[in-house]
């Protein structure tokens, strides 16, 4: 049944029941479009502009300032003052290079840890009795609705020297001396894994839940052991979920500020934190802008890869 004529319109060509044409349609498109142009795109142009400017002791603390009343001449004059000084500065001072590299390192390690912890959880959820799955799913999503800051904060009480974890480990006799975890990279890993776990579990669960059980039965029927069947059937088929989850954790983790600031020590530098310090403490807006531009460039590759992967997924599911 349900024979649809392929002669009915290919989606984009004609939209008989879409938005009406003419001025109404134009206005309808224009409102969200202009909003995003003004509040999303324009700010980036400004960041780019300021990253090319010089810092001065004034309000606002950068030079040159573009004055619209000076018109085209003013614009040209402004262009002439632009230079790459801030970027040169970033390249020369090893602090920045180190923070970029350590951001990448911390984000990568945390992503792998999140995958290692998230995969078994997603797998167990997908294998749980059907009537339980909705509840389990809600339990995974629930923390996402509660404050990120509070969830990170909750770990201070656990990880600090006289915190619950040390208290517990000393009590069981596993250790004799309290561990120093807070203000180390380990604390940051724990914080990122904890905060971003739902982002990993949800896409994994989505693919694992759809996985047809008869595929595994066919594999065991053809002589695979359950472990081998997992390795040759389940794992390859869940790869799209693995990729989606990894991108969803990695991309925000690179630019993370709250976790390294609250759980990390002064020796751990991540680029989000460097930007924050540059901006709020040093009040060097041009350097902060240059840091932002470079961070953005660094994220372009994973974002594009993520986008490509999502498109591939969307095509495959059609």
């Amino acid at each position: 049944m349900a024979v649809t004529d392929i002669a009915s319109p290919p989606e984009e060509i004609q939209e008989p029941s879409g938005l009406s044409s003419g001025w109404g349609r134009r206005l309808f498109i224009a409102i969200p479009y202009i909003w995003l142009l003004v509040f999303f795109l324009a700010p980036f142009v400004i960041v780019l502009k300021i990253s090319l400017s010089d810092v001065i002791l004034a309000r606002p603390p950068y030079f040159p300032n573009f004055d619209i009343s000076e018109g085209w001449q003013g614009f040209l004059a402004m262009l002439r003052v632009f230079d790459l000084e801030n970027y040169v500065w970033l390249a020369e001072d090893s602090l920045y290079l180190n923070s970029y590299l350590s951001s990448l390192r911390i984000a990568s390690i945390s992503t792998l840890l999140t995958l290692a912890i998230g995969y078994p959880i997603a797998y167990a959820m997908a294998k749980a009795p059907k009537e339980w799955r909705a509840t389990l799913l809600m339990l995974v999503i629930l923390p996402f609705w509660t404050s990120f800051l509070i969830r990170v904060y909750a770990w201070i009480g656990i990880l600090k020297k006289e915190g619950f974890l040390n208290y517990f480990l000393l009590w069981t006799g596993i250790i004799d001396e309290p561990l120093m975890i807070l203000n180390t990279d380990t604390a940051i890993y724990i914080g990122i894994v904890y905060s971003y776990l739902p982002f990993m579990v949800l896409p994994l669960y989505a693919v694992l839940e759809k996985l047809n059980i008869s595929l595994l039965e066919a594999a065991t029927d053809l002589g695979c052991s359950p472990l081998k069947a997992f390795w040759v059937i389940t794992l390859p088929l869940s790869l799209p979920g693995v990729w989606a989850g990894c991108f969803l954790v990695f991309i925000p983790a690179v630019g993370e500020f709250v976790i390294p600031d609250i759980l990390g020590g002064s020796s751990t530098i991540m680029i989000g934190k460097t930007l924050w310090v540059e901006f709020f403490s040093n009040r060097d807006w041009p350097v902060a802008s240059a840091v932002a531009i470079l961070l953005l460039l660094m994220l372009t590759l994973p974002i594009i890869l993520f986008q490509k992967q999502q498109e591939k997924q969307a095509e495959a599911s059609q």
Binding site: F28, V47, M138, I150, G157, L295
Partner: protein, 272 residues
């Protein structure tokens, strides 16, 4: 494979313990008498009292709620419009850029979004405060709204709109009478998401805000940097409880409606 086996049970127990133990500990110790947060010294609600007596907390909460309400509402309108533009407006010049601007804010590091908006407000000479935070929140929430509503529109059965047109509706009245009521649950969910995102945001608000407009996360952050305090535990517990009760209630209501519907559908099939 419809029962739990030991491996899955252990995994789920450990996994959910990891997710919930920190929050539960925090909530338990918010009732601790002692100021030393990790040493139990008896039950007390004194920290809750001191939260409610702390005027700066109350003020910050009020600012946060207002920002959240206004930004979620405006973002829902703009985001729904954006979703309709993405799904229903057909091709137009700059559609790729538009789609990009909808998805980009969601993967953008918050520090960059915050910084860029602040620099915009400075260049435009906006006085930073309540309204700049609200504008910032509208901008990033509307993208989430657009995605949530878009997902619903993609699965929306177009023949319903066509039926309305066929029965004498104009495009506008078909949207109001048919499309809007059917996608309304998604719009409501999008509003809640936008509201939560706004309540939750620290980084963007810190950049976009100015004197006199301290939101609750900003307030908590300034306290947290000093260390663990029982007052913050109490405040956090209140926030978590409110959200948890809200989310659990909402999902129970949805589940019940779903169960009822399935039952009715079964009955309908049996009656010819």
């Amino acid at each position: 494979m419809t029962r739990f086996n030991w491996f899955n049970t252990t995994t789920l127990t450990l996994g959910f313990a990891f997710l919930y133990l920190p929050i539960i500990l925090l909530m338990i110790y918010s009732f601790n008498e002692s100021r030393l947060v990790t040493v139990w010294a008896g039950f007390s609600t004194r920290w809750y009292q001191s939260v409610f007596l702390n005027e700066s907390f109350i003020n910050a909460a009020w600012v946060t709620l207002r920002v959240g309400f206004i930004s979620a509402s405006v973002a829902t309108v703009l985001g729904t419009m954006a979703a309709l533009v993405l799904n229903r407006a057909g091709p137009f010049h700059g559609k790729t850029l538009f789609t990009g601007m909808i998805y980009a804010p969601m993967v953008m590091p918050e520090v960059i979004t915050g910084l860029s908006l602040l620099l915009l407000f400075v260049s435009l000479d906006f006085a930073r405060g309540f309204w700049t935070v609200t504008l910032a929140h509208i901008t990033f929430s509307m993208c989430y709204v657009a995605v949530v509503v878009s997902t619903r529109l993609v699965t929306f059965e177009r023949s319903l709109e066509e039926a309305a047109l066929d029965l004498g509706c104009t495009r506008f009245s078909a949207f109001i009478q048919v499309t809007l009521p059917i996608i309304f649950p998604a719009i409501l969910a999008a509003w809640l998401l936008a509201f939560t995102l706004s309540l939750d945001d620290l980084v963007i608000a810190s950049f976009a805000s100015g004197p006199g407009a301290t939101t609750l996360p900003m307030k908590i952050y300034s306290q947290v940097r000093i260390g663990v305090s029982p007052e913050i535990n109490a405040l956090s517990s209140i926030l978590i409880a409110v959200v948890a009760i809200g989310v659990v209630t909402a999902s129970l209501v949805t589940k019940q409606a779903h169960v009822k519907r399935i039952k009715e559908e079964r009955m309908a099939i049996n009656s010819i």
